[in-house]
Symmetry: C2
Subunit: 207 residues, 2 copies
C-alpha cells in the first residue's frame, strides 16, 4: 500500500467495518461497494481480489501499530539508560499501541480488533505470510529487550511468556464488548490496560 486515493480509503473503511461486524464470508464485494458508494468493479480494480482487500485492511492497521510499538520500546530504552527498561515498561510498549489502535479510535479502528482476531485464526496463506512478516522482526526486538530485563529466563521462557501475553491482549480486544456482564463494565479501558500489564508482568516474572 503506497498512497491511497479517496475511493481506495473509502473502500477500506467500509470493508473493515462490514467484515468486522459480519465476517469475511457473509460480506460480498457487492455489499462493500454499495455501502461505499463506489462501483462494483472498484475492489477488483484497486486491490486485485477480495482476499487482497482483506490483506490491505490488515496491513493498514498492523503496520502503524507495530511501528508505534518499536518506537515506544526505543524511547523506553533511551529513558532507562544502560541497564535497560524494566519489565513493565517493555510490556507497556507492546500492549498500549494495540489498545490505542483498537479502542482509542480518533477515526475508526474499533472494528479492527475483531478483524485481527479473525486474521489470527484464518488459515489463508496470504494472511499467514503477512503476520509472519509483520511480527517476526517485532518479536525478535522485544525478546531481546525482555532478555535484558529478565536475565534469569531462557529464550524459550521468554518466547512463551510473550505468547501468553499476546493471547491475553488479543482475546481481551476481541471479546471486550461480548461475554461481559453489565455489572463488570464499571472499569475504564485505562484501568483494564493497567491490569493487563501487571498480570503479564507477574506472569513473566514467575517463569
Amino acid at each position: 500500500m503506497k498512497s491511497l486515493n479517496d475511493t481506495q480509503s473509502r473502500i477500506l473503511d467500509v470493508a473493515e467495518e462490514l467484515f468486522s461486524e459480519q465476517g469475511f464470508d457473509r460480506i460480498s464485494i457487492r455489499d462493500i461497494t454499495t455501502k461505499a458508494g463506489v462501483n462494483l468493479a472498484a475492489i477488483n480494480y484497486h486491490f486485485g481480489s477480495k482476499e487482497d482487500l482483506i490483506a490491505a485492511i490488515f496491513e493498514r492497521r498492523v503496520v502503524p501499530v507495530n511501528e508505534a510499538r518499536l518506537a515506544a520500546l526505543a524511547s523506553a530504552e533511551a529513558a532507562a539508560g544502560k541497564k535497560g527498561p524494566k519489565l513493565e515498561a517493555i510490556l507497556e510498549a507492546f500492549i498500549r499501541p494495540a489498545i490505542h489502535c483498537c479502542v482509542g479510535k480518533p477515526e475508526g479502528g474499533t472494528a479492527f480488533s475483531k478483524l485481527f482476531g479473525r486474521c489470527l485464526s484464518e488459515p489463508d496463506p496470504a494472511i499467514e505470510a503477512l503476520l509472519q512478516k509483520q511480527f517476526e522482526p517485532l518479536m525478535k526486538r522485544f525478546d531481546a529487550a525482555l532478555m535484558k530485563a529478565l536475565p534469569h529466563l531462557s529464550r524459550t521462557d521468554i518466547f512463551w511468556c510473550m505468547k501468553f501475553t499476546f493471547g491475553a491482549l488479543h482475546h481481551w480486544l476481541l471479546t471486550r464488548d461480548r461475554f461481559v456482564p453489565s455489572w463488570r463494565k464499571d472499569i475504564t479501558v485505562e484501568a483494564q490496560t493497567q491490569k493487563l500489564i501487571s498480570f503479564a508482568a507477574a506472569g513473566c516474572r514467575a517463569a
Copy 2:
C-alpha cells in the same frame, strides 16, 4: 445432539478437519460430503444447514471439555477440604481439559483448537449463543472458586484475570504449530501447560 449414527459422525469428523485446515468459507458442503463418502444431501438432511453443522461440531467438542472442567474443579474442591483448593489447582482444572481435547487426541481433536479460535472471532449469532450457553455457567462456577482462593480480589478483578487466562490458553492452542521457530520446539506440551498455569497464577495473584 443426541446419539449419532455412523454417517453423522463421519460428517462431523471430516467437516471438523476441513474447516480447521481451510476455514468455513473455503470449504463447501460438497467438499465435506465427497471426502466423507456420503451423499451431497446428507448434511442438509441430518443437520439442517451448513451453519447448524458448524454449531454441531463446536458443541461436540466443547460440551465434554466443559464437563471435564467442572469435574476437575469438583474433585479439586473435594480434595482440598473446607478452605478450598489453591489457585493453581483451580487454574489447572480450567486449563488442562482444553489442552487435553486439543492436543491429547486419542481420536482427532487437534483440529479443534483452530476451529475454536475461529468460533471466538466468528460473529455468527448462533455460535455466539452457543458460547454464551456453554461458558456462562462454567465461568460463574470458576469465579466462585477463585473468589475463595483469592479473597483479597474483587469480582471484577477475578473476571478480568479469567479473561486474560482464557486468552493466553486459546492463543497458545491456536498458534501452537505456527509462528514458533524450530529451536523453540524443545519443550513438551506438559512443560508448556505448567508454564501457562504458573504464568496465570502469578498474574492473578498480582491483581
